[in-house]
């Protein structure tokens, strides 16, 4: 209730203070930042509405197509195409003599397809690698385009004011016709992609499989490239030649970090595309003549940065935390194992392990051992005696220790008996693998070794019964330590 009243006040203030309508975004800038922001959300300026609609449509079509080129490892094809359409734009202009969007669109699409075709022909008939082919076509086509454009400038009829829009793009200058064209493009893209989804999916991930299914892989490739060219040409007016490739790559790459399923990736990419498009329009609305494209790109890149850091599975910070947790667990398990071995050495007389004994066994200083045991105590896996020099197991951690020792010794036995290792070569290997063996595999090992009682060094291997008798669920103990994460 309060919120809606505040919103109403906001609207009222906006209406009272800003009675003028701007023809273009950025014409009205003599206002406060907050007022300008509030003004954005009233959507009163027609130019703003067009820009926003353009950005949203652009985000959708680029996100969908970008997903395909990113998984196909052809991300820079978008960059190549966006430059290669220039001669088409110029030729269309020369042909029609005016800035007729339809002719320019047709010319640009033809030039883009020609560029795609040349890239694959050069790659197939020479030993030049794909990246050089792309750079080659990009630069050469662009040069031809520049030559044509400078010719147009020299001609008397050469009012090329519209051409610059293609180079740098200004979403604020979009008009209703442009928006209609972009909407058409987005609909066509969505329609064709959903019709050919299965085929595109197969051809993108496993070309040989797609061929063996009898899919027209080459036609699908050119279909994708055709759609790409078409939507690049349409988007150029909003973001410009250089930055249109960002709108193709960045949202799709962000989605790629977040999902392993193609349909979900496409959805995410379209989502990130639209949100960063809207963000770009919003930010460029805040100042005088700020360009829209760069802000869209910076928005998209910020989303990428966030996903790069904290994506649930692939994020940098997330993986770092996971590694930290794993190494902490291994340290805990090693300390517990040490405690168990101290007890074992004195035939399980008494409950407590003195830090001194533990330090001698692990060949560490008392201070180090104290630090380790304190960490265990903090994690609730051990208790310290009154004087702080004796460590005691908790029921949980005693079974953990036994389980680790059991893993270690079974593995040593397996290496000596089955893999014919020398008994004095197996310790280091077992030291590493004891932390990652799952309960299932240990059972198999045990069965294969015919339920042994002693390891190659004559030490006793704790049996599963013993561990269970200690009042703990062994399976749960294993599962709780996150073996699944280690992959």
């Amino acid at each position: 209730m309060i919120l809606s009243r505040a919103w109403a006040w906001c609207l009222l203030i906006c209406c009272l203070t800003q009675p003028v309508f701007a023809d273009r975004i950025g014409d009205v800038v003599d206002t406060h930042v907050w007022e300008q922001a509030a003004r954005f959300f009233t959507f009163r300026d027609p130019s703003l509405r067009y820009a926003l609609a353009g950005a949203l449509l652009l985000g959708i079509s680029c996100g969908v197509l970008g997903s395909f080129i990113v998984v196909r490892k052809m991300a820079l094809m978008g960059d190549t195409l966006s430059h290669a359409v220039l001669p088409g734009v110029a030729a269309g202009f020369l042909w029609s003599g005016t800035k007729d969007p339809l002719v320019i669109l047709v010319g640009a699409t033809i030039a883009g397809l020609l560029g795609t075709f040349l890239v694959s022909v050069i790659r197939q008939t020479t030993r030049i690698k794909e990246d050089a082919c792309m750079g080659l076509v990009l630069g050469s086509f662009f040069a031809v385009g520049i030559c044509l454009l400078t010719r147009i400038q020299k001609m008397e009829t050469g009012n090329q004011s519209g051409i610059d829009k293609f180079m740098f793009g200004q979403a604020a200058a979009l008009n209703a016709d442009d928006i209609r064209l972009m909407a058409l493009c987005t609909v066509v893209v969505l329609l064709l992609v959903s019709l050919c989804y299965k085929g595109l999916l197969a051809a993108s991930f496993d070309q040989d499989f797609a061929v063996s299914l009898g899919l027209p892989v080459r036609i699908l490739h050119y279909l994708l490239m055709g759609l790409l060219t078409f939507s690049i040409v349409v988007s150029l007016q909003a973001v410009g030649v250089v930055l249109v490739s960002a709108m193709l790559i960045t949202p799709a790459a962000t989605a790629y970090l977040l999902s392993d399923r193609m349909h979900r990736m496409i959805l995410y990419a379209a989502g990130f595309g639209t949100v960063s498009g809207a963000l770009g329009v919003f930010l460029s609305f805040q100042g005088n003549n700020l360009p829209t494209g760069p802000f869209m790109v910076v928005g998209a890149s910020s989303f990428f940065l966030i996903a790069f850091m904290i994506a649930p599975r692939h994020g940098l910070v997330v993986r770092w935390l996971r590694r930290l947790r794993r190494s902490r667990r291994i340290q805990f398990e090693n300390t517990l194992k040490g405690m168990h071995r101290v007890l074992e050495d004195r035939d399980f007389v008494g409950d407590g392990v003195s830090l001194r004994e533990l330090a001698e066994l692990r060949r560490e200083t008392i201070e180090d051992v104290r630090k380790r045991v304190r960490a265990l105590v903090r994690a609730g896996q051990a208790t310290l005696g009154e004087d702080g020099n004796m460590a005691y197991f908790t029921p949980d951690s005693r079974s953990t220790a036994m389980r680790i020792v059991r893993n270690h010794r079974l593995w040593e036995l397996y290496l000596t008996n089955e893999a014919n290792y020398d008994a004095d070569h197996v310790h280091d290997d077992a030291e590493k693998i004891e932390h990652v063996l799952g309960e299932e595999i240990v059972r198999q090992l045990e069965r294969k070794l015919n339920y042994p009682a002693q390891d190659p060094h004559g030490k006793r291997i704790p049996g599963i019964q013993e561990i269970q008798e200690d009042g703990v669920r062994p399976a749960a103990a294993g599962a709780g330590l996150g073996y699944g994460e280690s992959r």
Binding site: V70, K73, A75, L76, G78, D79, H83, L94, W95, I122, T125, T126, R127, I128, K129, D131, A132, M134, G135, L136, L138, G139, S140, F142, A143, V144, G145, I146, C147, L149, T150, R151, K154, M155, M167, F168, V242, L243, S245, A246, I249, T250, A252, A253, Y256, L257, G287, N289, L290, P291, G293, P294, F295, V297, V298, S301, F304, F308, H314, L316
Partner: protein, 325 residues
Amino acid sequence: MKGSIASLDLSAFLLQPWQDDPAGYGWIVLMAFLVTLSCGLIGNYLVLRRMSLVGDAISHSVLPGIAVAFLVSHSRDPWIMSIGAIAAGVLTTFLIENIHGRSRIKQDAAIGITFTTLFAIGVIIITVFAGKVDLDQECVLYGEITFIPFFDYVSLFGRPIAPQPVFVMALVTLITAGLIMLFYKVLLVSSFDSGLAGSLGFNQRMVHYGMMCVLSVVVVSAFESVGAILVIAMLILPGVTAYLITYRFPIMLVLTVVHALLSAFIGLHLGIWLECSMAGSIVVAGSLLFVLAWIFSPSQGLLRRVLYRFRWRENAETQAGGSPA
């Protein structure tokens, strides 16, 4: 539209300029040659190492570097611009490597994300500080060799030797060529067989980063003449043209020089004939040379392939006809 292109009058387009203004056109050709040569020399390695599109990336992402350098120093001094460019180039390389190495993003996508982001930041800096930065995005995207001021001469020992831009470009070319000669073996080995280079104890990362620094300087000094996008063509064209003709690396370097010289001359005359952008026409000339090499290359050309296939079929037919059925 045909009428707007002048008919091909050889004497007017080949001889007239040299009679009218030999010095002016001479400097333009020399400048074009130096730009194409320095780009081509470093570009050879990019082509061989399959890093052509890293050249694309760096040519765009030096923009924030030079914008910041200009904001801080308020001068267009080539040295300061170079420092900004090197910083941006190293940052680009670092970002690409990290995005690619520390996540599942492939290298091509990492390149795309990095350079577009840096370029966007550069454009934002330029527009936000529009009053203070005497740069605009257009001058970076398209340069034009004929707009370069060739009247400010650099003097050595009291005698003017060359216009300042030509002098700087010559210096850059000399440094590039000198570094290539100095590290010829290292670059050769690490470009063809990185495993061997590693086992010989060459520091691959240093080679990579060093090359990116040189690339950034070359690119930023070529900006004024050709702009950020045509630079990519200049980086790649000489290398791939030579790559089609020869299998030997030293010959490839020599062919790069020939390619640079030819495209500078042909480009100039093409530009005069068509009355269009000189930078564009130089690249178009370079592309034409590539197409010629593609068709007529003695070892790998299209023509040879066609002839070979034709002769093979002929042989097969005569053999089939000659043998008793």
